[in-house]
């Protein structure tokens, strides 16, 4: 088969596959890395990629187009997209304040941003439920205003905002700190209003990092389980998330069905990230033009 390859590929394969180095340990380190990666990740992952097809193509399609599965996928990915969009605004605000202004306790506030990374999801889940339940400190006043948060899709979005916020802050903040302030000052001296400077000078420079952060927050939120199941209410077709459906199918020993939902989630996640990547590329091209 290799004989049929194009000359370019043939030329590539003549090149040594690694550059020489006096440093030792390459075979050992690479061997260890690949072995562990295969045992812990690649072999298990291959089960996820292969097992759904035990149902056949039509069987797979029947599982993922089942109304309950479709609703769960829509809720997981819709809520994740909404939460990521809200986090884009909130994260931008927090990153801006942390990197541009000095105020007492700034370092402590900065450290606190990472709490959602460190706090186990189940703990976040029960705490958010207690806050927004109809008798909770925020849930009660909101309920009086006619807004139910816990046990509705709104609660899901809220939990996903909690989970995703640090991703946006932590990707935007370093770029904002490195951003050349002279450019902003130039814009201001040339007569731009603060608003124009923010929208036409700062935001375009931040856009790639912001999209990366939003992508990370979205991917994390779409697969989130622990912080959501307590507050969601888990009503089929209404507030049931896709990961929960996997758990339910596994409890019924429907392995192929569970794998099909898992694979669909994986595919949707990567489609979402790919779209963001394309958007990022387009923005970068426009920035250069």
């Amino acid at each position: 088969m290799s004989r049929a390859l194009s000359p370019a590929v043939a030329a590539m394969s003549r090149k040594p596959w690694r550059k020489g180095s006096v440093l030792p340990g390459f075979p050992l380190a690479l061997g260890l890395t690949l072995t562990w990666l295969s045992l812990i990740f690649l072999i298990p992952l291959s089960a996820l990629l292969l097992r759904p097809w035990e149902l056949g193509l039509s069987g797979f399609w029947t599982v993922v187009t089942d109304p309950r599965v479709l609703a769960a996928l829509r809720i997981s990915f819709g809520a994740a997209a909404l939460a990521a969009a809200i986090n884009a605004g909130l994260g931008l605000l927090i990153a801006w304040v942390l990197s541009r202004y000095d105020f007492p306790g700034r370092r402590w506030v900065d450290a606190l941003v990472d709490l959602p990374f460190a706090l186990p999801t189940a703990v976040a889940g029960i705490a958010l439920t207690a806050i927004y339940a109809p008798n909770g400190p925020l849930g009660a006043p909101l309920a009086e205003m006619g807004l139910r948060v816990a046990y509705t899709p709104l609660g899901i979005v809220l939990a996903l905002i909690f989970v995703g916020l640090p991703f946006v802050v932590r990707t935007v903040q370093p770029v904002l700190e490195d951003l050349d302030r002279e450019v902003e000052e130039a814009a201001r001296t040339l007569g731009a209003t603060p608003r124009q400077t923010a929208w036409r000078v700062v935001l375009p420079a931040l856009a790639p990092a912001l999209l990366t952060g939003v992508g990370l927050a979205f991917a994390r939120a779409a697969g989130e389980y622990g912080s959501v199941i307590f507050i969601a209410g888990n009503m089929p077709l209404r507030s049931e998330i896709a990961p929960l459906l996997i758990v339910i199918k596994l409890e019924q020993f429907d392995y192929a069905g569970a794998a099909a939902v898992g694979l669909a989630m994986l595919a949707l996640s990567f489609t979402g990230l790919l779209l963001l990547n394309t958007l990022q590329g387009a923005l970068a091209r426009r920035g250069r033009a």
Partner: protein
């Protein structure tokens, strides 16, 4: 453009950022302690003294004690391979190592059931050999290993890339053996970064819920980790118990954040995560 001069607009921005953070981050944390102490310190202590809570704590420590060192060794090997050598497929390897981060925790548990469960690929074989993986500690450890796989590697790879291989090359040229070079040159250079990665890896290992929940079977005293114990108590409407156990995990998160910030403040120059900031 004086950062110290606070105009009304700046104050408004700072205030709204602080209010958002308080509502989203601080309030849930405070709620955990408030709910745990709702019926007084006596009920709180009694809930923590439960034998099942202790068993969950022991299992959580055991799982972290096994999975964190293994993934730390993996992280060191992966970073050595990727940062010190140039070879084809290098960027693919980096992508693969990062991938477990963008996979749902439930899927990270599911893959092990697909392999070792009753209807799994290796399920019948395991049954014949009398080995239980799913609904057993082994499964909990495997699931934890998968979700914590990238933590140490992704901290060490950029750090070791920045440091390059010059110091190691000098040591080797001067006649140092490979292991001497690794332990005397490389390891001291990355020790704070390694500690940073281990810290985050450990926090996730002890706090993981979704992946572990799928493989554990929630057997009290046997396969129940602390986060799973929180869920069981909560679903039994034992709210003081659930939040009491949750305070232990929240405490762990706060200690992790404290140590992490201390590392960032003191050793900023020797951490990849901070250099990126």
């Amino acid at each position: 453009m004086n950062a110290r001069r606070l105009s009304a607009g700046r104050l408004a921005l700072i205030a709204s950022a602080l209010i958002a953070l308080s509502l989203i981050v601080v309030l849930p944390l405070a709620m955990v302690f408030h709910e745990a102490l709702r019926q007084g310190a006596g009920a709180y202590v009694a809930a923590l003294a439960e034998p099942d809570a202790w068993a969950a704590m022991r299992l959580t420590l055991l799982v972290a004690a096994i999975s964190v060192p293994l993934n730390a060794v993996f992280g060191l090997a992966a970073a050595w391979t990727i940062a010190k050598f140039e070879f084809r497929g290098r960027s693919l390897l980096v992508t693969l190592i990062d991938l477990p981060f963008s996979i749902s925790p439930v899927v990270s548990g599911l893959v092990w059931v697909l392999l070792f469960g009753v209807n799994g690929w290796l399920g019948p074989l395991m049954q014949e050999l009398g080995i239980r993986v799913i609904f057993n500690i082994t499964g909990v450890i495997l699931a934890t290993l998968l979700v914590t796989l990238p933590f140490v590697a992704r901290e060490l790879i950029p750090l070791m890339e920045q440091q390059g291989g010059d110091e190691e090359t000098a040591a080797i040229t001067l006649g140092a053996g490979p292991w001497t070079t690794f332990f005397r040159v490389t390891l001291p250079n990355v020790k704070w970064g390694l500690l940073y990665g281990v810290l985050l890896c450990n926090a996730r290992a002890m706090g993981e819920f979704g992946a572990v929940s799928v493989v554990s079977g929630h057997i009290r005293g046997l396969t129940n980790t602390l986060p799973l114990h929180v869920e069981i108590l909560y679903n039994e409407y034992d709210f003081v118990g659930a939040f009491a156990v949750a305070t232990v995990l929240a405490g762990l998160a706060l200690v992790t954040l404290g140590l992490k910030s201390a590392l960032e403040w003191r050793h900023a120059g020797e951490l990849a995560a901070v250099r990126r900031h």
